[in-house]
């Protein structure tokens, strides 16, 4: 009997497509919520993305009780405590997080405080601390990449201690994720590209790392196919709402995939690079993906070869000898990165970012080695291995 075993869990109701936002009032009232609070950031408000949500609720007679629109890019324990204070003061009963990773993580953390009580979010940090379901929580992503709307994790910075606090619990999962193409239509080209490559990386690592399983594989391959088919179309025609919806769905599917099968070395290097050089996460993912796949190649030859079908389609897959498919998959990803560079100068190497210096590589390698994602990389990574990958990614 094989030792193969896996777990798969995703109870988030996905509400996706045309006029999806208009389902929010029905879903909220169905959970007995009447006084929702919106948690978002200034960029989302300035882009006019709150209006369709507010209009959708008001048309159904549901007033948004209060809006907090000052979530910073790197949310902190102080911000979470302040928002929880406003929630209590305004007697809210539910949260709608609208935005990217930071707004969504902040919404999750606020939900812990307002459901469990207290002002100190740090005491709920770690895995499995929460024992009860939280308040109704909806997420409306405005980028198509993080997949935070379907993950059970939030990361909040503790300003006093200067550390990032992780929170992990299935109770952090939203009750619903609302995927509406209107919310990503105005995303600038370089963010569209970087976030889509984030989704591509989530899916690729989910499909090639140690905790892959049949269910996460299905989501991962579907996500890769959607990104491969729609990303360049959207880059050429940003108002293509069908393409935008495809990317948004790909992000959610990749999120479901990686939250059930974890990620590997690309994320370990990306987290370290983000912390040291302050590069956006999606950019780091796009940058490291082919180099890490090359490093892992002999360990993941079979699944990586399978991905060619979803990256390039059945004709290229059939025309490529089985023994060359893994290399062809890496080439397809490189080709996509070249096309993105041409369209929006999304960097392909560390040098091209202009924000990393060669003498930072050792520090990045050391930090990456202690990142939790590295446990799930299919191939063991030593300090020298990490340095070698970074040197290849340098220029």
């Amino acid at each position: 009997m094989t030792n193969k075993y896996y777990e798969f869990f995703c109870p988030v109701k996905v509400i996706a497509g045309k006029a999806a936002l208009e389902h929010i009032p029905y879903e909220l009232t169905g959970m007995g919520a009447k006084r929702p609070m919106i948690v978002t950031d200034k960029g989302v408000r300035a882009a006019g993305l709150l209006e369709p949500v507010i209009a959708a609720c008001e048309e159904s007679g549901l007033e948004i009780t209060t809006i907090y629109d000052d979530v910073p890019p790197d949310s902190s324990t102080t911000v979470v405590r302040d928002i929880a204070g406003i929630y209590r003061q305004e007697k809210c009963d539910s949260i709608i997080a609208i935005g990217g990773g930071s707004a969504i993580d902040t919404g999750k953390a606020v939900n812990i405080l307002v459901s469990e009580g207290g002002d100190d979010i740090a005491k709920y940090s770690g895995a499995g601390v929460l024992k009860h379901p939280l308040k109704p929580f909806f997420v409306v992503p405005t980028t198509a990449g993080t997949g935070s709307e379907v993950t059970s994790v939030a990361v909040i910075t503790d300003e006093n201690k200067g550390v990032k606090l992780p929170f992990t619990s299935s109770f952090l999962l939203p009750n619903a994720a609302i995927i509406d193409p209107r919310m990503t239509l105005t995303l600038p080209p370089h963010i569209t590209a970087a976030t889509a490559m984030d989704a591509m990386t989530h899916a690729t690592e989910a499909f090639t790392c140690m905790a892959k399983n049949p269910l996460s594989d299905a989501y991962a391959t579907a996500a890769i196919k959607k990104v491969s088919q729609s990303l360049l179309k959207v880059m050429d025609n940003p108002k293509d709402s069908d393409g935008r919806l495809e990317l948004a769905q790909a992000s959610t599917m990749a999120g479901i995939a990686f939250s059930n099968s974890m990620v590997g070395l690309v994320h370990a290097l990306g987290h370290a690079t983000g912390a040291i050089c302050h590069l956006p996460h999606g950019l780091c993912m796009s940058l490291y993906l082919p180099y890490v796949l090359e490093y892992n190649l002999e360990t993941i030859r079979e699944p990586l070869g399978e991905l060619l079908l979803h990256l390039e389609g059945p004709e290229v897959f059939a025309a490529t000898p089985a023994s060359r498919r893994a290399e062809a998959s890496i080439s397809a990803i490189r080709k996509l990165r070249d096309a993105l560079y041409k369209r929006c100068q999304l960097p392909r190497t560390l040098k091209e970012t202009g924000k990393v210096t060669e003498n930072q590589l050792d520090h990045i390698a050391e930090m990456a080695l202690d990142d939790g994602s590295i446990m799930f990389n299919p191939k063991e990574v030593s300090l020298d291995d990490a340095r070698a990958v970074l040197r290849r990614a340098w220029a």
Binding site: N3, Y5, E7, G126, G372, M375, E380
Partner: protein, 181 residues
């Protein structure tokens, strides 16, 4: 019928085996930190007084080691002098048995959700590397390859044999001292 009768004995044997392996591993962690520079370098990043626990949920066998400084570990047996800093917890004794009988690699057990980490994940990654290094030393290569993700290419036979002999000697001495005490 026979299987049903011997099942309690099998469960008992499995419990004893896991407990014995924890005792051996705890002592071996202390020993390898006195023998191997690589392990010492890994351990130096841990705070002095850092307490590491490996246990079977909910309240089964456990091993506790402390980083006493300079990359050295001290084995505390199954009781901690204060709350532990990092705990790696097997969800069930069957999962601990799979790993400790080398049917499942530690990394695969993590991937298969057999274990939970309570504490700083970066320290858990570091301790996993230390455990892998230890297993590479003390197990025959064929078995070690089943226990670790990748057997270290730079671990040559003479070094392995000498280090393993020193570790086993220290483990045996520690067992004797414990028995005498």
């Amino acid at each position: 019928m026979l299987a049903k009768r011997i099942q309690p004995m099998v469960f008992q044997a499995r419990r004893y085996y896991v407990e014995l392996m924890f005792q051996v591993m705890g002592r071996a962690l202390q020993a390898v930190s006195e023998v191997d520079e690589n392990v010492q370098n890994e351990a130096r990043a841990l705070p002095d007084g850092f307490l590491f626990e490996m246990m079977v949920m909910p309240d089964g066998s456990r091993l506790i080691v402390e980083h006493t400084g300079q990359g050295r570990f001290h084995y505390h047996g199954n009781t901690a002098p204060r709350p532990v800093d990092l705990s790696i917890q097997f969800k069930h004794i069957a999962h601990a048995f799979l790993v400790l009988s080398f049917q499942e690699k530690t990394s695969v057990a993590f991937a298969n959700d057999r274990m939970l980490v309570d504490g700083d994940i970066s320290y858990a990654v570091r301790m996993t590397r230390v455990l892998n290094r230890l297993e590479s030393f003390i197990l025959p290569k064929l078995i070690a390859q089943r226990a670790v993700k990748e057997y270290p290419a730079d671990l040559r036979l003479p070094k392995k044999l000498i280090s393993a002999a020193r570790i086993y000697l220290k483990v045996a001495t520690n067992f004797v001292e414990t028995a005498r005490a």
